[in-house]
């Protein structure tokens, strides 16, 4: 009788709680609060927050290698690199490349924003992270969650949770982080620049784009294949207009299902032992730095391009070169509208915004080619 009582008491989770776990609960509750009350990236922060809570409840064995339920989601979904490419399939099906094809020069703003990725890589390496870790931290500046997860799972799996949460948190905070930098780097006159409409893009061209770009990008950066291949396939579903069901499934059902597994798995990797380290603090700081530099370099390249072009670019749309689709484009539009209410920048900003997604994947592919 006594023995079974002791065994029962021993198996109570309460007795195995540690102060670190309680700190992680606070982090989990904060993310859940931000998702529900503030609606900051709720689709991800809510399952991530709940995953953190689950991972820090003792004796549940949910993340036990080989047997835990969430470990299986993590292992087969993320370690096997299945979920990020499936998210890209959905993103491709959701993306209209029209604004980019109408003004292809805007593609360079998406490239400029990747400077933040490489500058942060160098800074992270200089302060003591190894090359693989520094690359994983740098890619946060691309503001693309699936790409960050994809690169982290390949180069530095132990940093995956911190980097993913940093990336998604900063993506949610785009409206707070970007405007001061955009305003600092532009004059009132520049913010009022009205851009000329691009050319009209036909259906054939939109349909050819995913095929041509998949071939071109994969010939240049084969390591980016899992993401680019799925991204362009999703877009081909969309533009072909003959597989509406597949396009709809990729955009909705599939995307929603993998988002659940992604969020919970990422959250569940954030145990007190792995997360409460000074490295995590550095990662959050460097992630913010990367994001700020990416915003600045996008704006600065737009200004530079204006020195050589007749058809001026509103430099605010350069900030949309960080991926964070479509939030960064909306922010560019909003800051532009503050200077001139009649200036409608959203469609122009979508060009660099989409180019930013491609740019970040190329940057990740280059890291993989050089470091894996």
């Amino acid at each position: 009788m006594n023995e079974s009582m002791f065994a029962l008491v021993d198996s109570l989770g309460f007795l195995s709680l540690t102060p670190g776990m309680l700190v992680m609960w606070i982090i989990g509750f904060t993310l859940i609060f931000l998702a529900i009350a503030k609606e900051y990236e709720p689709l991800l922060l809510l399952p991530i927050g709940f995953g953190i809570l689950l991972a820090n409840l003792p004796m549940t064995h949910l993340m036990e290698p080989g047997e835990g339920l969430i470990w299986r989601f993590y292992h087969y979904g993320i370690e096997w690199e299945v979920i990020p490419p499936l998210i890209f399939l959905g993103l491709g099906a959701l993306t209209d490349f029209g604004p980019l094809l109408a003004q292809p020069r805007l593609i360079f703003l998406g490239a400029a924003a990747q400077a933040g990725v490489y500058i942060t890589f160098f800074v992270a390496w200089a302060i003591g992270f190894d090359l693989q870790e520094a690359a994983t931290i740098g890619i946060i500046g691309g503001a693309d969650g699936p790409t960050t997860i994809f690169l982290a799972s390949n180069l530095a799996p132990h940093l995956l949770a911190s980097c993913a949460v940093a990336a998604y948190s900063y993506m949610a905070m785009v409206p707070i982080i970007q405007p001061p930098i955009m305003k600092l780097l532009t004059s009132e006159k520049e913010r009022k620049i009205k851009m000329k409409r691009g050319r009209k893009v036909g259906r054939k061209e939109k349909m050819l784009f995913p095929i041509v770009s998949a071939v071109v990008i994969l010939l240049i950066v084969p390591a980016s294949a899992p993401l680019i291949a799925m991204f362009m396939l999703g877009n081909l579903f969309r533009e072909a207009k003959v597989v509406e069901r597949l396009s709809g499934a990729a955009q909705n059902e599939l995307m929603n299902i993998v988002t659940i597994f992604l969020g919970v798995s990422i959250g569940a990797t954030m145990t007190a032992d792995s997360f409460l380290k000074k490295e995590a603090l550095f990662i959050f700081f460097l992630g913010l730095f990367a994001f700020m530099i990416s915003t600045a370099t996008g704006v600065l390249l737009a200004k530079l391009m204006n020195l050589f072009t007749k058809n001026k670019i509103n430099p605010l749309i350069g900030a949309a070169g960080v991926s964070a689709v479509p939030m960064a484009a909306r922010v560019a539009h909003k800051v532009g509208a503050e200077a001139d209410k009649k200036n409608y920048l959203l469609m122009f900003a979508m060009g660099p915004n989409i180019a930013g997604v491609i740019g970040t994947v190329i940057a990740a592919g280059i890291f993989l080619m050089l470091l894996k």
């Binding site: 990747q114 990008i217 190329i362 280059i366």
Partner: protein
Amino acid sequence: MKDALLIFMNGIVGVFAGMAVLYLSIRLTSFVVDKLESKKEAS
């Protein structure tokens, strides 16, 4: 130091080169599509 600097340089140059090639391929595709369309209209 050398490795990090090389990756830094190759990365920035690589992203811009990749995007430049993509830019050219977009231009080329639109040129070809426009030509085909105008030929079709003419006939």
